[in-house]
Symmetry: D2
């Protein structure tokens, strides 16, 4: 790896996911934010003047004075992190890829495209092969899952491999930052629960099937299981909590399940990618753990916390997952994908 | 019915459930709080001086100056509402019953006793027959369900009758008042979810089977279904939200289910009991309804709100329930039971 | 008073203040909402389809199906309640007044106009004389104070009369509903305080001087005192809490101050106006009272709660006020003004 | 300084302040937690088994397995950090000091003793001279201010020095962790403000006078100013927000005030004490800053954030302060004191 950092551009840099990209890439060993792009309204302004910064650490000094560019494929950085709104992400990302850019996207638009990896480096690094099917001569689009799906698939992956999974039922209690900024009105959520998040249940029922699917002969064979999802918004800043029930193919035990979770380690850990959590899964024995405020930042927000594994009366087992929706579930997850691509020399 | 009100005593009168009894019985057409009893620490003091009143309406004037008595079966009122802590409720309530008192209890201790009704007036008024099995010559104990079970059983009752139910899976997001006062520390729940409530899941998996069971020859035949429950505490003051999945015996449709819910009316409605909700079940079509802050007070907190009925990938249908945990799920529910007993002349 | 209700139109009917007007006017003995008007975007739709209803009681049935009209002075109802945004309220309200409508407005635009009453019926009913100065042949504009000023002026009025006031310092902790809907993002206020509300401090420092001023010869002589205001937003749904320090002209005592507060009663109480609180001021002796969640709804949200009166090291006394910002501080306050006008036959 | 770390014992180690000591001392360059002591109830148990750990980082490994000792002066570590409850702190701390221990205490008991420094290393390092007046042959007691006073005195110190201060009025909105654990019930604070904190206003009105006083001939001459304090509890986890008004002796300007704040640097900065913030005071120009969630962790929670400096109608200027109540205002502040003492060779 050369000693020079790969220059990086952020699309949608003033939004909440864009801000997280900038925060997490501050002092990144491989990547450096050289360009920020956003809507016409912001283009031309200094970043610090256009952004309504809502992170709890200050704007990194170097980014602070960058002049915001338009989201057009005439940027100098070849590696693009996209935090664009889904209303425009589809076209803009395709335009960049067709001009030779490497686009790693947090948006939903291309996730289910047949030739686009829905990448979780610990789970399906081989899905990167799909890039070869893309119509772009040199550029590419790689996507990451919805913030509610990432915790679930990381918890399921070792179970699928060890015991086989037949059915999954999940009910979420999702953090507010998942709705972007300004997102959910305070009048709607204080002393309240909103038992509905537009489009979320459909994503949770479909994306895991592709992520956990097999790359085969230029395409993905989806995992053939059934998932039922119910999604709720609760008064939590960051972190999605998920109550999961699972039915296995093979008989197993609480001890065996904990063991495969605790031993789970994959390519990002072997490659020691800078953003890889040391352990992708942390299991907690405390009876009232995991909790979003306490566990969302585990391994810098890149790991999932699991607890309360116990037998279920209808399925085989049930348990609770916490994952950080804007780190592992958005910007951090996308950065890990780019690290994997870079280490595989898919990014020059 | 005589024009004089039945005198009533509240056990555990200073606790959060005790306070609700006093609040809801203010200006009750049939009952009047004449005595309040609590722990030794409070006995002998004026109510207003011993209580840490946390309701949003003031202490009713007549109760305010009552002197607190001990929880011993030498009270003048024959009708006893018990909001005692379960650590002592079992023995105290039995002592009262054996001295000829009518005890309506919110505590868990006697709920699953073979000869004690676990009473929901809209569902199983005939379970009151069990009282005859009790060993007390004249007194009796009647119990109400756990605050998380009441919403579920009211929603299930018309479905059990119309279509038969085979399996139920429920995940709750429960209000803080369910834990009593001071209950949950603010440091534990702001910006957080606690995915555990001691003993709650076992109650939700067992109590509905008795409540929905049949009175037969001096005993209850439990309903033979399987329930799976997962219980969470969220930052909501009052109101339990429940995400429910149901598998039916008979094929049915969204329209038929809504119809049986909307038409559901039972004995308390026929008898026009003072605390009976006009409609025990309200169905909402809005895509993001029901919500605890908006719907917990429906029909004075005595009805349940349901919404989001839709097909499920694993079960047949799923939906969301809201019910008020300290009104319908505690004091209000117990008062309705006493009203039913009074109208059946089981209380003199 | 004739037995027929005065027909009323609401401008800005879909906004948060507009909704409160509709909620509070449901079953009003004198007024009936016959027309609702809002922006072009909503005009032509049924009210229930255009509104994002955020109140905790359902939309009144009669209003629910009204078709929304434009905010143009061709409505049939002569009495107009305006909950318009200040960006347009100024011109629209003037247009209505000049066509002969009686406009009672919650907006800031005309509050400080020399010929417009800034009306608090308990304090300055004689300011209605200003209407005669207005250039409109028959119509008029009457305004109510900012939601943060109303609690302060009600608390100050009897003190000004009894002891004379020289200096007032106030720090507020204001509820979220004061910012309208969607208003404050949940990401900005959970686990946080925002020590700034645009324009609020200037209003609190100026409006009370006019409200407490004297009508004299066709104009208002402002009260000559100095007020310092600091305004904060906190995570409270409804209700403004204010920490107040006061320096008096005459020496007084805690007992005397409590006495003038408790004895305070004014024209709306004498006239028994339907929305008048029985007591405009309630004083609480409990050491940790008043609190917004407990006291905001006192006297149906139309009274203020005061507590913690004690000596101050710099001023003479300090105390805490709670008032309901969208009832007494907005829709309810405006309705009380219209009731006063009606009882004085200023509205035909 | 020797390369070996000074062994340290924590009194009240399982409480919320005790936990913060343990968290902040993890990997401290000079000090190492070797002993933990707590009430009889916990003594004899392993720390991890006795504590209800509520910090957002895990229990440091080395402390986790320490066996809890009694709070008796037979510990091996000579440096004692006390997070004891004030109901017992007075006697226990004196007992330790009289046996030769160096006690740095967070409790209120000895703060106002004539011979006990109320130490803020940036403000009054010379107050350490008071130790010589203490009756203990070798040991000593040093105290830190109340968590609400620390932000205020840090903001005032450079103003007192540059312009002279005559009057200070402060209204606080304080975080929940200031009340310890479990502290404030969630039912008391969600959707609410509590305008009262026992004893807090008296502390804020008196402690700053001693802290900002002059050491003179074996005693402290208090600063002769008047402070008025009003204290409120709000739904914020950590961080105290304070609205301050100040009247100066000398005329000054917004620019001059900002300048003295930004240039403020003192002995801990010169000595480069490990826990010293680089800048004790950070001024923010953003119109709605500072905010507790965004600024409480500035300089690792050891600095104060100030903003909104503007002229006042009654005093000269007003502004807003944020400080971290359990870091700078408790454990972190005490550690900084011990660092100062160690660097001055007052601790062997």
């Amino acid at each position: 790896m050369s000693s020079e950092k790969t220059p990086v551009a952020i699309l949608g840099a003033t939004g909440s996911v864009g801000q997280r990209f900038i925060q997490l890439l501050d002092n990144h060993p491989w990547f450096e934010v050289k360009e920020v792009a956003a809507s016409e309204k912001s283009a031309g302004k200094k970043y610090k003047e256009a952004v309504n910064w809502i992170q709890s650490t200050p704007i990194p000094g170097k980014v602070s004075d960058l002049v915001i560019k338009n989201c057009k494929p005439n940027l100098k950085s070849k590696l693009i992190f996209s935090g664009l709104d889904s209303s425009i992400a589809g076209e803009v990302e395709a335009a960049f890829a067709s001009k030779g850019y490497y686009v790693v996207s947090n948006s939903k638009n291309h996730r289910m495209d047949n030739d686009v990896p829905l990448l979780v480096p610990e789970i399906n690094p081989e899905h990167l092969e799909l890039i070869k099917q893309q119509k772009y001569s040199k550029g590419c689009i790689v996507t990451i899952p919805n913030c509610s799906a990432i915790g679930l698939v990381l918890a399921l992956k070792p179970l699928v491999d060890a015991f086989g999974v037949e059915q999954v039922s999940v009910v979420t209690m999702q953090g507010l930052s998942g709705a972007g900024y300004p997102g959910v009105s305070s009048l709607d959520i204080i002393d309240n629960v909103i038992p509905f998040i537009g489009g979320e249940e459909a994503k949770m029922e479909s994306e895991p099937l592709k992520i956990l699917g097999k790359y085969n002969n230029g395409g993905i064979e989806n995992l053939k299981i059934k998932i039922s999802a119910q999604c709720n918004r609760v008064a939590v800043m960051d972190g999605h909590t998920e109550c999961v029930q699972v039915k296995f193919k093979k008989k197993t035990s609480v001890e065996e399940i904990k063991e495969v979770w605790e031993n789970f380690s994959a390519e990002p850990q072997k490659l020691k990618l800078p953003s890889a959590p040391e352990n992708p899964i942390h299991y907690f024995e405390e009876i009232n753990y995991p909790q979003p405020r306490i566990h969302r930042n585990i391994d810098k927000g890149m790991a999932v916390a699991i607890g309360r594994l116990r037998e279920d009366t209808l399925f085989d087992y049930k348990f609770v997952i916490i994952s950080h929706n804007t780190i592992r579930g958005a910007a951090g997850g996308a950065i890990l994908c780019a690290e994997l691509m870079k280490s595989k020399r898919l990014i020059e």
